[in-house]
């Protein structure tokens, strides 16, 4: 347990020390999205009755920052340790692979949730929001950040170089987030693309999270939660198997 707590502490201290980059920057990014999209499209688009476009947009943006920052934390930390070689200090210690997984994922979750909370705190000054079902909000935020934290770990275990992580981010994470319904409801899409969207696990995270705010969603929230939970279980199993075998870390 001691090793786990120390690794968690190290991971938290790491992003805290560069808070301007890891906390303030993503908040600014989201505010820019909000200004551009909400002001350009407000009044012209409405996906649910009683919910303005700006209101619709905010939960999507909050969840997007939770997901992106959770991924960024575990992936950038581990790939840096691998490339610079300081991973050896963890590998020399008696920390088990389960503790290793837990510490990286939990730190990624905390960074994601902290950024999400900051974004939410800032945006409620501009957009009035209600919280129809706060427990759903919490459940999806926790599971979503856990999935992306594990995905970041997965990517960094596999990758040997920084640019491979950047590719993963640009060609996997970014398209999946943008096509998940952050900026629109998938019901506004042609039927083919609605079907395709249902194959994107990010859609369920965003849609379920939004349900917590408005009490309405494109997909039943319990089913979304099940999809998200299964995704997390599968991804965690993959990470744990990789870590247990020493894949790319203990050759």
């Amino acid at each position: 347990m001691g090793g786990f707590l120390s690794l968690l502490y190290k991971e938290l201290l790491r992003f805290w020390k560069v808070g301007f980059q890891t906390l303030a920057a993503p908040v600014l990014t989201v505010l820019l999205y909000l200004v551009v999209f909400a002001y350009a499209l407000d009044g012209r688009m409405r996906f649910y009755e009683q919910v303005s476009y700006a209101q619709f947009l905010v939960p999507g943006l909050v969840m997007m920052s939770v997901l992106q920052n959770a991924f960024a934390n575990s992936s950038s930390s581990l790939i840096q340790s691998k490339v610079t070689g300081n991973l050896v200090f963890m590998m020399l210690s008696p920390i088990s692979y389960v503790e290793f997984f837990g510490a990286y994922v939990l730190a990624a979750m905390l960074r994601g949730l902290l950024v999400g909370a900051c974004v939410l705190l800032v945006t409620v000054w501009f957009v009035e929001l209600r919280l129809a079902a706060p427990l759903w909000v919490l459940a999806f935020a926790l599971l979503g950040s856990a999935i992306l934290g594990a995905l970041g770990l997965f990517a960094a275990i596999w990758a040997d170089r920084f640019d491979q992580i950047a590719s993963f981010q640009n060609f996997v994470i970014l398209p999946l987030t943008f096509l998940s319904g952050v900026f629109y409801s998938i019901r506004a899409l042609p039927e083919v693309w609605q079907t395709v969207s249902h194959l994107n696990p990010f859609f369920y995270m965003i849609d379920g999270f939004r349900y917590g705010f408005f009490g309405v969603s494109d997909f039943p929230p319990l089913a979304s939660l099940a999809v998200v939970a299964v995704s997390f279980a599968l991804l965690s199993a993959a990470c744990l198997l990789m870590l247990r075998s020493g894949y790319k870390l203990r050759q």
Partner: protein, 299 residues
């Protein structure tokens, strides 16, 4: 008694390359043990297997009786490793680095010992400096400190003095010797053979993944080295029938290798018999470099 390190038939293959082939050796508790060999001999691979950084393809390794794969938690607690590469985490200060490392081993509130280690390695003044700002020599000291934060009974140093200035090298050895006197087992790899000769009780030499010599430093020196005799005569020819191998000649100066002091007597006798006069004579005791070259040559 439990061995500090016990390696049995260790093998490591990378594809078709055999980095280690049937390596077996024991290091007793309290020993100062040297692991020598040319680059690529497998020293670092063996250390990585002992530390659990690399998995052996076959064979088994124990640290203080704990199997490095089956009981890795126990074996890693027993072991402190100073890696060869100068690695560090650029986010933290020296003290943070040491506290975190100590925490990885489940040791909290370890500041008294951390302060003591920093004191002995002259790191006290840099405790709150970021790792990025330290010189290479200082980073090397932090690596040593990191290996010691959990008070391991067995310490492995992989070329700790590569690229380190004389002052730090001497300070470092003073500290390591003290730890050895206090009962810590020390395993060392180095390219500086005079260091190994001076420090190590026992030495294993590796070549192409195999142990080619394993004995006490004294035995190795006696067995392989012999004496080096430098001789200048009043003429530029040596008498015949000498019980010595001529290594070099330059005019009237000769370098001869002798098996022992008896051979010296025989050489002097022949020189006198031939009516030659000795102008200069120098006798060098055996050294490890000579042993090393001979062993590497033989295998």
């Amino acid at each position: 008694m439990t061995y500090a390190i016990e390696a049995r038939h260790v093998e490591k293959r990378y594809g078709t390359l055999r980095a280690l082939a049937d390596v077996s050796l024991d290091v007793a508790q309290g020993e100062f043990f040297g692991l020598l060999g040319p680059n690529g001999a497998g020293k670092t691979t063996l250390i990585s297997i002992i530390a659990g950084l690399t998995q052996a393809s076959a064979g088994e390794v124990r640290v203080m009786g704990a199997d490095v794969t089956l009981e890795y938690r126990r074996s890693r607690r027993m072991l402190g490793v100073v890696p060869q590469e100068l690695v560090f985490d650029p986010f933290f200060t020296v003290r943070e680095t040491l506290r975190i490392q100590s925490g990885y081993f489940g040791m909290r509130a370890n500041d008294a010992w951390i302060d003591e280690v920093m004191h002995h390695l002259d790191l006290g003044a840099s405790a709150d400096s970021n790792m990025r700002t330290l010189s290479g020599g200082m980073k090397r000291r932090v690596l040593v400190a990191q290996a010691l934060v959990h008070r391991p009974p067995v310490i492995v140093l992989d070329e700790p003095t590569a690229g380190v200035d004389v002052g730090l090298r001497q300070g470092l050895w003073r500290f390591i010797r003290r730890l050895n006197r206090d009962g810590h087992t020390v395993v060392l790899t180095t390219h500086y053979l005079e260091e190994a000769e001076e420090l190590c009780d026992r030495i294993a030499m590796l070549k192409a993944g195999r142990v080619v010599a394993l004995d006490s430093t004294r035995n190795l020196l006696e067995q392989f080295s012999g004496l080096l005799l430098r001789l200048r005569l009043d003429r530029d020819s040596l008498p015949g029938g000498l019980a010595a191998e001529v290594l070099a000649r330059d005019g009237a100066s000769f370098a001869l290798r002798l098996r022992d002091y008896n051979a010296l007597e025989q050489v002097l006798h022949r020189v006198r018999e031939a009516g030659a006069t000795i102008k200069e004579l120098e006798l060098e005791p055996p050294d490890l470099e000579e042993v090393f070259l001979r062993v590497m040559d033989k295998h």
